[in-house]
Protein backbone atom coordinates (compact mmCIF):
# COMPACT_ATOMS: atom_id res chain seq x y z
CA UNK A 1 0.00 0.00 0.00
CA UNK A 2 1.28 3.43 -0.96
CA UNK A 3 0.32 7.03 -0.37
CA UNK A 4 1.16 9.78 -2.83
CA UNK A 5 0.25 13.45 -2.48
CA UNK A 6 1.05 17.09 -1.88
CA UNK A 7 2.30 18.09 1.54
CA UNK A 8 0.58 20.40 4.01
CA UNK A 9 3.42 21.33 6.36
CA UNK A 10 2.82 22.42 9.99
CA UNK A 11 5.03 23.15 13.00
CA UNK A 12 5.21 21.89 16.62
CA UNK A 13 2.27 21.11 18.90
CA UNK A 14 -0.61 21.13 16.41
CA UNK A 15 -3.39 20.58 18.97
CA UNK A 16 -6.74 18.88 18.57
CA UNK A 17 -8.53 22.20 19.15
CA UNK A 18 -7.11 23.60 15.91
CA UNK A 19 -7.55 20.29 14.05
CA UNK A 20 -11.25 20.30 14.90
CA UNK A 21 -12.48 23.15 17.12
CA UNK A 22 -14.79 22.09 19.97
CA UNK A 23 -17.54 24.36 18.68
CA UNK A 24 -18.13 21.75 15.96
CA UNK A 25 -18.18 18.76 18.33
CA UNK A 26 -21.93 18.86 18.74
CA UNK A 27 -21.99 16.31 15.94
CA UNK A 28 -20.16 13.06 15.26
CA UNK A 29 -20.97 13.15 11.53
CA UNK A 30 -17.63 12.52 9.83
CA UNK A 31 -18.32 14.59 6.69
CA UNK A 32 -19.44 17.59 8.73
CA UNK A 33 -16.38 17.31 10.98
CA UNK A 34 -14.11 17.06 7.93
CA UNK A 35 -15.59 20.27 6.51
CA UNK A 36 -14.01 22.13 9.47
CA UNK A 37 -10.73 20.20 9.54
CA UNK A 38 -7.69 22.39 10.43
CA UNK A 39 -9.96 25.44 10.39
CA UNK A 40 -8.29 27.36 13.25
CA UNK A 41 -4.71 26.82 12.05
CA UNK A 42 -5.20 26.87 8.26
CA UNK A 43 -8.59 28.25 7.17
CA UNK A 44 -7.96 27.42 3.49
CA UNK A 45 -6.90 23.80 4.14
CA UNK A 46 -10.27 22.28 3.39
CA UNK A 47 -10.58 24.21 0.11
CA UNK A 48 -7.11 23.15 -1.06
CA UNK A 49 -6.84 19.54 0.13
CA UNK A 50 -7.08 16.77 -2.49
CA UNK A 51 -7.56 13.04 -1.96
CA UNK A 52 -4.23 11.44 -1.06
CA UNK A 53 -2.53 14.59 0.27
CA UNK A 54 -0.17 14.26 3.22
CA UNK A 55 0.19 16.23 6.46
CA UNK A 56 3.74 16.68 7.74
CA UNK A 57 4.41 18.31 11.11
CA UNK A 58 7.10 18.74 13.72
CA UNK A 59 6.80 17.37 17.27
CA UNK A 60 3.78 16.50 19.43
CA UNK A 61 1.17 16.46 16.65
CA UNK A 62 -2.39 16.04 17.98
CA UNK A 63 -1.74 17.18 21.54
CA UNK A 64 -4.64 18.08 23.80
CA UNK A 65 -8.05 16.52 23.87
CA UNK A 66 -8.92 12.83 23.44
CA UNK A 67 -11.41 13.70 20.71
CA UNK A 68 -11.29 10.97 18.07
CA UNK A 69 -13.09 13.53 15.92
CA UNK A 70 -9.60 14.93 15.14
CA UNK A 71 -8.09 11.92 13.30
CA UNK A 72 -11.57 11.17 11.94
CA UNK A 73 -11.81 14.67 10.40
CA UNK A 74 -8.33 14.27 8.88
CA UNK A 75 -9.12 10.81 7.51
CA UNK A 76 -12.47 11.94 6.11
CA UNK A 77 -10.78 14.96 4.47
CA UNK A 78 -8.99 12.21 2.48
CA UNK A 79 -5.53 12.85 3.89
CA UNK A 80 -3.65 9.62 3.15
CA UNK A 81 -1.02 9.84 5.87
CA UNK A 82 0.31 12.04 8.68
CA UNK A 83 4.08 12.16 9.20
CA UNK A 84 5.42 13.88 12.32
CA UNK A 85 8.55 14.00 14.47
CA UNK A 86 6.33 12.77 17.32
CA UNK A 87 2.63 12.34 18.09
CA UNK A 88 0.71 13.03 21.27
CA UNK A 89 -0.16 9.63 22.69
CA UNK A 90 -3.98 9.72 22.55
CA UNK A 91 -3.89 10.97 18.95
CA UNK A 92 -1.45 8.14 18.14
CA UNK A 93 -3.80 5.52 19.63
CA UNK A 94 -6.85 7.04 18.01
CA UNK A 95 -5.24 7.11 14.56
CA UNK A 96 -4.26 3.45 14.75
CA UNK A 97 -7.64 2.52 16.22
CA UNK A 98 -9.56 4.15 13.36
CA UNK A 99 -7.12 3.24 10.59
CA UNK A 100 -5.54 6.64 9.81
CA UNK A 101 -1.95 5.90 8.70
CA UNK A 102 0.63 7.80 10.77
CA UNK A 103 4.42 7.65 10.73
CA UNK A 104 7.00 8.99 13.18
CA UNK A 105 10.14 10.09 11.33
CA UNK A 106 11.96 13.22 12.55
CA UNK A 107 14.55 13.01 9.74
CA UNK A 108 11.91 12.99 7.01
CA UNK A 109 10.07 15.87 8.66
CA UNK A 110 13.24 17.99 8.49
CA UNK A 111 13.57 17.31 4.76
CA UNK A 112 9.99 18.03 3.69
CA UNK A 113 8.57 21.48 2.88
CA UNK A 114 5.05 22.73 2.29
CA UNK A 115 3.89 21.87 -1.22
CA UNK A 116 6.43 19.08 -1.81
CA UNK A 117 5.21 15.87 -3.43
CA UNK A 118 5.78 12.90 -1.17
CA UNK A 119 5.28 9.17 -1.56
CA UNK A 120 5.00 6.72 1.35
CA UNK A 121 5.33 2.95 1.09
CA UNK A 122 3.59 1.60 4.19
CA UNK A 123 5.00 -1.89 3.80
CA UNK A 124 8.63 -0.84 3.86
CA UNK A 125 8.17 2.43 5.80
CA UNK A 126 9.98 4.28 2.99
CA UNK A 127 9.15 7.99 2.75
CA UNK A 128 10.27 9.61 -0.54
CA UNK A 129 10.27 13.32 -1.26
CA UNK A 130 9.75 13.30 -5.03
CA UNK A 131 10.36 17.06 -5.19
CA UNK A 132 13.88 16.83 -3.75
CA UNK A 133 14.67 13.17 -4.52
CA UNK A 134 15.45 12.40 -0.89
CA UNK A 135 14.15 9.43 1.04
CA UNK A 136 14.02 8.17 4.60
CA UNK A 137 12.92 5.02 6.38
CA UNK A 138 10.38 5.30 9.21
CA UNK A 139 10.58 2.83 12.07
CA UNK A 140 8.23 -0.13 11.65
CA UNK A 141 5.28 -0.56 14.02
CA UNK A 142 5.43 -3.39 16.58
CA UNK A 143 3.73 -6.59 15.28
CA UNK A 144 0.63 -6.14 17.45
CA UNK A 145 0.00 -2.66 16.07
CA UNK A 146 0.70 -3.86 12.52
CA UNK A 147 -2.04 -6.47 12.96
CA UNK A 148 -4.44 -3.73 14.04
CA UNK A 149 -3.51 -1.62 11.02
CA UNK A 150 -3.96 -4.61 8.69
CA UNK A 151 -7.41 -5.21 10.20
CA UNK A 152 -8.22 -1.51 9.50
CA UNK A 153 -8.67 -0.60 13.13
CA UNK A 154 -9.19 -1.86 16.66
CA UNK A 155 -12.85 -2.89 16.38
CA UNK A 156 -12.29 -5.06 13.31
CA UNK A 157 -9.16 -6.54 14.89
CA UNK A 158 -10.99 -7.44 18.10
CA UNK A 159 -13.95 -8.88 16.18
CA UNK A 160 -11.56 -11.19 14.34
CA UNK A 161 -9.91 -12.17 17.64
CA UNK A 162 -13.27 -12.75 19.34
CA UNK A 163 -14.41 -14.97 16.44
CA UNK A 164 -11.39 -17.26 16.88
Amino acid sequence: MKAHGTVFRYKDNVDTDVIIPARYLNTSDAAELASHCMEDIDPTFIKRVKAGDIIVADKNFGCGSSREHAPLAIKTAKISCVIASSFARIFYRNSINIGLPILECPEAVKGIRDGDTVEVDFTSGLISNLTTNESWKAEAFPPFIQKMIEAEGLVQYLKKEMAK
Partner: protein, 422 residues
Amino acid sequence: MSMTMTQKILAEHAGLPQVHPGQLVMADVDLVLGNDITSPVAIKEFAKFNLDKVFDKSKVALVPDHFTPNKDIKAAQQCKCMRQFAHDFDIEHYFEVGQMGIEHALLPEQGLVNAGDLIIGADSHTCTYGALGAFSTGVGSTDMAAAMATGKLWFKIPQAIRFNLTGTFTRWVSGKDLVLHIIGMIGVDGALYKSIEFCGTGVASTTMDDRFTVCNMAIEAGAKNGIFPVDAVALEYVASHCKRLPKVYEADSDAEYERTVDIDLGAIRPTVAFPHLPENAKTIDEVGNVPIDQVVIGSCTNGRISDLRVAAQLLKGRKVAKGVRTIIFPATQQIYLQAMEEGLLRIFVEAGAVVSTPTCGPCLGGHMGILAEGERAVATTNRNFVGRMGHVQSEVYLASPAVAAASALTGRIANPEEIGVN
Protein backbone atom coordinates in the same frame (compact mmCIF):
# COMPACT_ATOMS: atom_id res chain seq x y z
CA MET B 1 13.46 -6.31 37.88
CA SER B 2 11.97 -3.49 39.88
CA MET B 3 8.93 -1.52 38.78
CA THR B 4 7.39 1.93 39.16
CA MET B 5 3.97 2.36 40.78
CA THR B 6 2.33 2.70 37.35
CA GLN B 7 4.11 -0.38 35.96
CA LYS B 8 2.94 -2.45 38.97
CA ILE B 9 -0.71 -1.50 38.47
CA LEU B 10 -0.53 -2.29 34.75
CA ALA B 11 1.28 -5.60 35.38
CA GLU B 12 -1.32 -6.71 37.91
CA HIS B 13 -4.20 -5.85 35.57
CA ALA B 14 -2.48 -7.65 32.69
CA GLY B 15 -1.99 -10.75 34.88
CA LEU B 16 1.78 -10.53 34.56
CA PRO B 17 4.37 -10.76 37.35
CA GLN B 18 6.66 -8.35 35.57
CA VAL B 19 6.48 -5.75 32.79
CA HIS B 20 9.11 -3.57 31.16
CA PRO B 21 8.95 -0.18 29.43
CA GLY B 22 7.84 -0.43 25.79
CA GLN B 23 6.04 -3.75 26.28
CA LEU B 24 2.51 -3.93 24.85
CA VAL B 25 -0.03 -5.57 27.16
CA MET B 26 -3.75 -6.29 27.27
CA ALA B 27 -5.06 -5.27 30.67
CA ASP B 28 -8.39 -5.52 32.51
CA VAL B 29 -10.10 -2.21 33.16
CA ASP B 30 -11.99 -1.39 36.37
CA LEU B 31 -13.97 1.53 34.96
CA VAL B 32 -14.74 2.93 31.51
CA LEU B 33 -15.82 6.58 31.26
CA GLY B 34 -17.38 8.63 28.49
CA ASN B 35 -18.99 12.06 28.10
CA ASP B 36 -21.54 13.61 25.76
CA ILE B 37 -18.93 14.40 23.09
CA THR B 38 -16.99 11.16 23.05
CA SER B 39 -19.71 8.62 23.92
CA PRO B 40 -21.85 9.05 20.78
CA VAL B 41 -18.81 8.08 18.66
CA ALA B 42 -18.08 5.16 21.00
CA ILE B 43 -21.70 4.00 20.86
CA LYS B 44 -21.51 3.85 17.04
CA GLU B 45 -18.33 1.77 17.28
CA PHE B 46 -19.74 -0.44 20.04
CA ALA B 47 -22.70 -1.29 17.77
CA LYS B 48 -20.26 -2.95 15.34
CA PHE B 49 -19.63 -5.69 17.94
CA ASN B 50 -23.32 -6.72 17.80
CA LEU B 51 -23.43 -7.31 21.55
CA ASP B 52 -26.53 -7.18 23.71
CA LYS B 53 -24.64 -6.11 26.82
CA VAL B 54 -21.54 -4.26 27.97
CA PHE B 55 -18.80 -6.25 29.73
CA ASP B 56 -20.03 -5.07 33.15
CA LYS B 57 -22.84 -2.57 33.52
CA SER B 58 -21.49 -1.47 36.93
CA LYS B 59 -18.12 -0.56 35.42
CA VAL B 60 -19.23 1.99 32.83
CA ALA B 61 -19.79 5.64 33.75
CA LEU B 62 -21.53 8.02 31.36
CA VAL B 63 -21.50 11.73 32.21
CA PRO B 64 -23.16 14.34 30.00
CA ASP B 65 -21.09 17.32 31.10
CA HIS B 66 -19.54 19.10 28.12
CA PHE B 67 -22.38 20.78 26.26
CA THR B 68 -24.95 20.39 29.04
CA PRO B 69 -27.47 21.62 29.94
CA ASN B 70 -27.95 21.05 26.21
CA LYS B 71 -26.58 24.11 24.45
CA ASP B 72 -28.29 23.55 21.10
CA ILE B 73 -30.29 21.00 19.16
CA LYS B 74 -27.29 19.04 17.94
CA ALA B 75 -25.88 18.78 21.47
CA ALA B 76 -29.32 17.68 22.66
CA GLN B 77 -29.30 14.91 20.04
CA GLN B 78 -25.89 13.71 21.25
CA CYS B 79 -27.09 13.63 24.88
CA LYS B 80 -30.23 11.82 23.79
CA CYS B 81 -28.12 9.16 22.07
CA MET B 82 -26.10 8.67 25.25
CA ARG B 83 -29.18 8.60 27.50
CA GLN B 84 -30.82 6.00 25.26
CA PHE B 85 -27.71 3.83 25.31
CA ALA B 86 -27.52 4.08 29.12
CA HIS B 87 -31.16 3.00 29.29
CA ASP B 88 -30.92 0.19 26.73
CA PHE B 89 -27.78 -1.30 28.28
CA ASP B 90 -28.89 -0.68 31.87
CA ILE B 91 -25.74 1.32 32.65
CA GLU B 92 -25.64 1.80 36.43
CA HIS B 93 -23.58 4.99 36.52
CA TYR B 94 -25.33 7.37 34.17
CA PHE B 95 -25.53 10.86 35.63
CA GLU B 96 -28.36 12.98 34.29
CA VAL B 97 -28.41 16.78 34.52
CA GLY B 98 -29.43 17.31 38.14
CA GLN B 99 -27.23 14.53 39.48
CA MET B 100 -24.20 15.17 37.36
CA GLY B 101 -21.06 17.16 37.63
CA ILE B 102 -17.87 17.55 35.66
CA GLU B 103 -16.76 13.95 35.21
CA HIS B 104 -13.34 14.09 36.86
CA ALA B 105 -14.66 15.83 39.95
CA LEU B 106 -17.76 13.63 40.00
CA LEU B 107 -16.31 10.12 39.77
CA PRO B 108 -14.06 10.28 42.86
CA GLU B 109 -16.81 12.06 44.81
CA GLN B 110 -19.28 9.30 43.88
CA GLY B 111 -16.88 6.62 45.10
CA LEU B 112 -16.23 5.18 41.63
CA VAL B 113 -12.46 5.58 41.95
CA ASN B 114 -10.32 3.43 44.21
CA ALA B 115 -6.60 3.30 44.87
CA GLY B 116 -5.04 0.66 42.61
CA ASP B 117 -7.80 0.82 39.97
CA LEU B 118 -7.14 0.87 36.24
CA ILE B 119 -9.47 3.45 34.74
CA ILE B 120 -9.79 4.58 31.15
CA GLY B 121 -11.91 7.44 29.92
CA ALA B 122 -12.70 8.93 26.56
CA ASP B 123 -11.57 12.29 27.87
CA SER B 124 -7.97 13.38 28.06
CA HIS B 125 -8.25 14.57 31.69
CA THR B 126 -9.08 11.07 32.92
CA CYS B 127 -5.52 11.12 34.29
CA THR B 128 -6.96 13.02 37.30
CA TYR B 129 -7.50 9.83 39.35
CA GLY B 130 -3.80 9.24 39.79
CA ALA B 131 -4.29 11.55 42.76
CA LEU B 132 -5.84 8.55 44.55
CA GLY B 133 -3.15 6.11 43.48
CA ALA B 134 -5.08 4.71 40.53
CA PHE B 135 -3.69 4.28 37.03
CA SER B 136 -5.98 6.34 34.86
CA THR B 137 -5.55 7.66 31.38
CA GLY B 138 -7.41 9.30 28.54
CA VAL B 139 -8.19 7.33 25.40
CA GLY B 140 -10.40 7.78 22.34
CA SER B 141 -13.93 6.71 21.58
CA THR B 142 -12.96 3.50 19.76
CA ASP B 143 -10.91 2.49 22.81
CA MET B 144 -13.94 3.24 24.96
CA ALA B 145 -16.10 1.05 22.72
CA ALA B 146 -13.58 -1.79 22.80
CA ALA B 147 -13.31 -1.60 26.58
CA MET B 148 -17.10 -1.56 26.98
CA ALA B 149 -17.26 -4.67 24.78
CA THR B 150 -14.36 -6.68 26.21
CA GLY B 151 -13.42 -5.17 29.59
CA LYS B 152 -9.85 -4.95 28.33
CA LEU B 153 -7.60 -2.54 26.49
CA TRP B 154 -4.09 -2.45 25.04
CA PHE B 155 -1.40 -0.40 26.75
CA LYS B 156 2.24 0.31 26.16
CA ILE B 157 4.15 0.12 29.44
CA PRO B 158 5.51 3.62 30.10
CA GLN B 159 8.79 4.83 31.51
CA ALA B 160 8.47 7.42 34.25
CA ILE B 161 9.78 10.78 35.36
CA ARG B 162 9.82 11.24 39.12
CA PHE B 163 9.16 14.51 40.94
CA ASN B 164 10.51 14.54 44.48
CA LEU B 165 8.53 17.13 46.45
CA THR B 166 9.86 18.80 49.59
CA GLY B 167 8.67 21.71 51.73
CA THR B 168 5.19 23.21 51.83
CA PHE B 169 3.31 25.76 49.71
CA THR B 170 3.37 29.39 50.81
CA ARG B 171 0.08 31.28 51.12
CA TRP B 172 -2.07 31.51 47.94
CA VAL B 173 0.06 28.87 46.23
CA SER B 174 -1.61 25.55 45.36
CA GLY B 175 -1.50 22.45 43.18
CA LYS B 176 -2.28 24.54 40.08
CA ASP B 177 0.85 26.62 40.50
CA LEU B 178 2.89 23.45 41.00
CA VAL B 179 1.62 21.79 37.85
CA LEU B 180 1.99 24.93 35.72
CA HIS B 181 5.53 25.24 37.06
CA ILE B 182 6.25 21.61 36.09
CA ILE B 183 4.79 21.99 32.58
CA GLY B 184 6.78 25.19 32.16
CA MET B 185 9.90 23.28 33.14
CA ILE B 186 9.50 20.16 30.97
CA GLY B 187 7.25 21.44 28.15
CA VAL B 188 3.98 20.24 26.63
CA ASP B 189 5.65 17.07 25.37
CA GLY B 190 8.14 16.76 28.23
CA ALA B 191 6.53 13.56 29.51
CA LEU B 192 5.25 12.22 26.17
CA TYR B 193 4.30 8.51 26.44
CA LYS B 194 5.57 8.54 30.06
CA SER B 195 4.25 8.49 33.60
CA ILE B 196 4.78 11.32 36.03
CA GLU B 197 5.21 9.88 39.53
CA PHE B 198 5.35 12.01 42.66
CA CYS B 199 7.17 11.22 45.87
CA GLY B 200 8.90 12.95 48.75
CA THR B 201 8.26 14.53 52.12
CA GLY B 202 6.36 17.41 50.51
CA VAL B 203 3.50 15.15 49.40
CA ALA B 204 1.98 14.93 52.88
CA SER B 205 1.33 18.67 53.05
CA THR B 206 -0.63 18.75 49.78
CA THR B 207 -4.40 18.40 49.95
CA MET B 208 -6.46 15.90 48.01
CA ASP B 209 -7.74 18.75 45.84
CA ASP B 210 -4.17 19.88 45.10
CA ARG B 211 -3.34 16.36 43.93
CA PHE B 212 -6.45 16.11 41.73
CA THR B 213 -5.42 19.37 40.05
CA VAL B 214 -1.82 18.26 39.53
CA CYS B 215 -2.71 14.84 38.07
CA ASN B 216 -5.48 16.39 35.98
CA MET B 217 -2.91 18.42 34.06
CA ALA B 218 -0.32 15.64 33.62
CA ILE B 219 -1.72 15.32 30.07
CA GLU B 220 -0.68 18.92 29.39
CA ALA B 221 2.93 17.73 29.67
CA GLY B 222 2.05 14.90 27.26
CA ALA B 223 2.04 12.32 30.06
CA LYS B 224 0.16 9.04 29.93
CA ASN B 225 -0.67 9.42 33.60
CA GLY B 226 0.28 11.27 36.76
CA ILE B 227 0.25 9.42 40.06
CA PHE B 228 0.71 10.16 43.75
CA PRO B 229 1.65 7.69 46.48
CA VAL B 230 -1.28 6.49 48.57
CA ASP B 231 -0.80 8.11 51.99
CA ALA B 232 -3.10 8.85 54.92
CA VAL B 233 -4.72 11.77 53.05
CA ALA B 234 -5.62 9.56 50.07
CA LEU B 235 -6.72 6.64 52.26
CA GLU B 236 -9.03 8.88 54.23
CA TYR B 237 -10.59 10.20 51.01
CA VAL B 238 -11.09 6.70 49.62
CA ALA B 239 -12.52 5.40 52.90
CA SER B 240 -15.09 8.19 53.04
CA HIS B 241 -16.15 7.92 49.38
CA CYS B 242 -15.55 4.44 47.99
CA LYS B 243 -17.15 1.24 49.30
CA ARG B 244 -14.34 -0.99 48.04
CA LEU B 245 -11.14 -1.58 50.00
CA PRO B 246 -8.13 0.23 48.55
CA LYS B 247 -5.30 -1.64 46.89
CA VAL B 248 -2.09 0.20 47.60
CA TYR B 249 0.81 -0.10 45.17
CA GLU B 250 4.22 1.36 45.92
CA ALA B 251 7.08 1.92 43.54
CA ASP B 252 10.07 -0.32 44.27
CA SER B 253 12.83 1.61 46.02
CA ASP B 254 15.17 0.78 43.14
CA ALA B 255 12.63 1.37 40.36
CA GLU B 256 14.14 2.98 37.28
CA TYR B 257 13.16 6.50 36.43
CA GLU B 258 14.20 8.37 33.34
CA ARG B 259 15.11 11.18 35.68
CA THR B 260 14.24 12.58 39.09
CA VAL B 261 13.45 16.26 39.54
CA ASP B 262 13.52 17.86 42.99
CA ILE B 263 10.94 20.54 43.70
CA ASP B 264 10.74 22.68 46.84
CA LEU B 265 7.07 23.52 47.21
CA GLY B 266 8.04 26.54 49.32
CA ALA B 267 9.82 28.08 46.34
CA ILE B 268 6.83 27.87 43.96
CA ARG B 269 5.29 31.27 43.20
CA PRO B 270 1.77 31.90 41.90
CA THR B 271 2.18 30.88 38.26
CA VAL B 272 0.36 31.85 35.06
CA ALA B 273 0.54 30.08 31.66
CA PHE B 274 0.42 32.62 28.83
CA PRO B 275 -1.22 31.93 25.45
CA HIS B 276 -1.19 29.66 23.56
CA LEU B 277 0.45 26.73 25.34
CA PRO B 278 0.34 25.54 28.96
CA GLU B 279 4.17 25.48 28.92
CA ASN B 280 4.36 29.28 28.63
CA ALA B 281 4.57 29.59 32.39
CA LYS B 282 5.59 32.80 34.14
CA THR B 283 5.62 33.56 37.83
CA ILE B 284 3.24 36.28 38.97
CA ASP B 285 6.29 38.51 39.45
CA GLU B 286 7.08 38.32 35.72
CA VAL B 287 3.56 38.92 34.41
CA GLY B 288 3.49 42.70 33.91
CA ASN B 289 0.29 44.58 33.13
CA VAL B 290 -2.19 42.32 31.33
CA PRO B 291 -5.75 43.75 31.30
CA ILE B 292 -8.53 41.14 31.09
CA ASP B 293 -12.17 40.87 30.02
CA GLN B 294 -13.27 37.65 31.70
CA VAL B 295 -12.47 35.35 34.60
CA VAL B 296 -13.52 31.71 34.70
CA ILE B 297 -13.23 29.77 37.96
CA GLY B 298 -14.17 26.09 37.69
CA SER B 299 -13.56 23.04 35.44
CA CYS B 300 -12.30 19.51 36.12
CA THR B 301 -9.01 21.16 37.07
CA ASN B 302 -10.17 23.70 39.66
CA GLY B 303 -13.90 23.54 40.38
CA ARG B 304 -13.67 21.77 43.73
CA ILE B 305 -14.77 23.11 47.11
CA SER B 306 -11.31 24.24 48.20
CA ASP B 307 -10.97 26.18 44.94
CA LEU B 308 -14.25 27.97 45.60
CA ARG B 309 -13.25 28.69 49.20
CA VAL B 310 -10.01 30.36 48.09
CA ALA B 311 -11.88 32.46 45.54
CA ALA B 312 -14.42 33.44 48.21
CA GLN B 313 -11.70 34.51 50.66
CA LEU B 314 -10.53 37.05 48.10
CA LEU B 315 -13.93 38.11 46.74
CA LYS B 316 -15.67 38.46 50.13
CA GLY B 317 -16.88 42.01 50.70
CA ARG B 318 -15.26 43.23 47.47
CA LYS B 319 -16.52 43.88 43.94
CA VAL B 320 -15.18 42.53 40.69
CA ALA B 321 -13.61 45.21 38.51
CA LYS B 322 -15.88 47.08 36.12
CA GLY B 323 -15.94 45.39 32.74
CA VAL B 324 -14.73 41.98 33.97
CA ARG B 325 -17.22 39.16 33.52
CA THR B 326 -16.58 36.68 36.33
CA ILE B 327 -18.12 33.24 35.91
CA ILE B 328 -17.86 30.59 38.61
CA PHE B 329 -18.66 26.92 38.03
CA PRO B 330 -18.88 24.55 41.01
CA ALA B 331 -17.83 21.23 39.49
CA THR B 332 -20.59 19.00 40.88
CA GLN B 333 -24.04 19.29 42.40
CA GLN B 334 -22.59 18.28 45.77
CA ILE B 335 -19.93 20.98 45.58
CA TYR B 336 -22.65 23.46 44.56
CA LEU B 337 -24.71 22.56 47.64
CA GLN B 338 -21.69 22.74 49.90
CA ALA B 339 -20.76 26.14 48.50
CA MET B 340 -24.32 27.27 49.14
CA GLU B 341 -24.30 26.01 52.73
CA GLU B 342 -20.96 27.67 53.42
CA GLY B 343 -22.27 30.99 52.09
CA LEU B 344 -19.80 31.07 49.19
CA LEU B 345 -22.47 31.55 46.53
CA ARG B 346 -23.72 34.68 48.31
CA ILE B 347 -20.19 36.04 48.43
CA PHE B 348 -19.78 35.45 44.68
CA VAL B 349 -23.10 37.02 43.70
CA GLU B 350 -22.57 40.01 45.98
CA ALA B 351 -19.14 40.53 44.46
CA GLY B 352 -20.72 40.74 41.01
CA ALA B 353 -19.81 37.27 39.76
CA VAL B 354 -22.25 34.78 38.27
CA VAL B 355 -22.55 31.18 39.45
CA SER B 356 -23.39 28.49 36.93
CA THR B 357 -24.60 24.94 37.11
CA PRO B 358 -21.77 22.40 36.65
CA THR B 359 -20.62 22.18 33.01
CA CYS B 360 -17.38 22.02 31.05
CA GLY B 361 -18.92 24.88 29.00
CA PRO B 362 -16.35 27.64 28.46
CA CYS B 363 -13.22 25.57 29.13
CA LEU B 364 -13.40 24.08 25.64
CA GLY B 365 -15.20 26.98 24.00
CA GLY B 366 -18.52 25.16 24.11
CA HIS B 367 -20.90 27.61 25.73
CA MET B 368 -21.49 29.72 28.88
CA GLY B 369 -18.67 32.22 28.47
CA ILE B 370 -17.26 32.31 24.94
CA LEU B 371 -14.69 35.00 24.13
CA ALA B 372 -14.98 37.52 21.28
CA GLU B 373 -12.14 38.59 18.99
CA GLY B 374 -9.32 40.20 20.92
CA GLU B 375 -10.70 39.35 24.37
CA ARG B 376 -8.61 37.95 27.20
CA ALA B 377 -9.59 35.60 30.00
CA VAL B 378 -7.88 34.40 33.13
CA ALA B 379 -9.15 30.86 33.66
CA THR B 380 -8.55 28.11 36.19
CA THR B 381 -9.05 25.64 33.34
CA ASN B 382 -6.38 23.47 31.71
CA ARG B 383 -5.73 24.57 28.12
CA ASN B 384 -4.98 27.87 26.44
CA PHE B 385 -4.62 26.73 22.83
CA VAL B 386 -5.56 29.01 19.93
CA GLY B 387 -9.35 29.44 19.93
CA ARG B 388 -9.80 27.26 23.00
CA MET B 389 -12.39 29.51 24.70
CA GLY B 390 -13.82 31.14 21.61
CA HIS B 391 -12.54 33.37 18.82
CA VAL B 392 -9.22 32.44 17.20
CA GLN B 393 -7.93 35.89 18.18
CA SER B 394 -8.90 35.54 21.86
CA GLU B 395 -6.48 34.64 24.64
CA VAL B 396 -6.61 32.39 27.70
CA TYR B 397 -4.22 32.75 30.66
CA LEU B 398 -4.22 29.70 32.93
CA ALA B 399 -3.94 30.29 36.66
CA SER B 400 -5.02 29.17 40.12
CA PRO B 401 -8.35 30.15 41.69
CA ALA B 402 -6.46 32.64 43.91
CA VAL B 403 -4.85 34.42 40.95
CA ALA B 404 -8.13 34.28 39.01
CA ALA B 405 -10.09 35.86 41.88
CA ALA B 406 -7.46 38.56 42.43
CA SER B 407 -7.52 39.27 38.69
CA ALA B 408 -11.33 39.56 38.74
CA LEU B 409 -11.00 42.25 41.42
CA THR B 410 -8.29 44.27 39.70
CA GLY B 411 -9.20 43.84 36.02
CA ARG B 412 -5.71 42.61 35.17
CA ILE B 413 -3.69 39.51 35.99
CA ALA B 414 -2.96 40.05 39.65
CA ASN B 415 -1.06 38.62 42.59
CA PRO B 416 -3.46 37.55 45.38
CA GLU B 417 -1.00 39.08 47.86
CA GLU B 418 -1.90 42.58 46.68
CA ILE B 419 -5.59 42.24 47.61
CA GLY B 420 -4.78 42.60 51.30
CA VAL B 421 -6.70 39.68 52.76
CA ASN B 422 -5.63 38.98 56.34
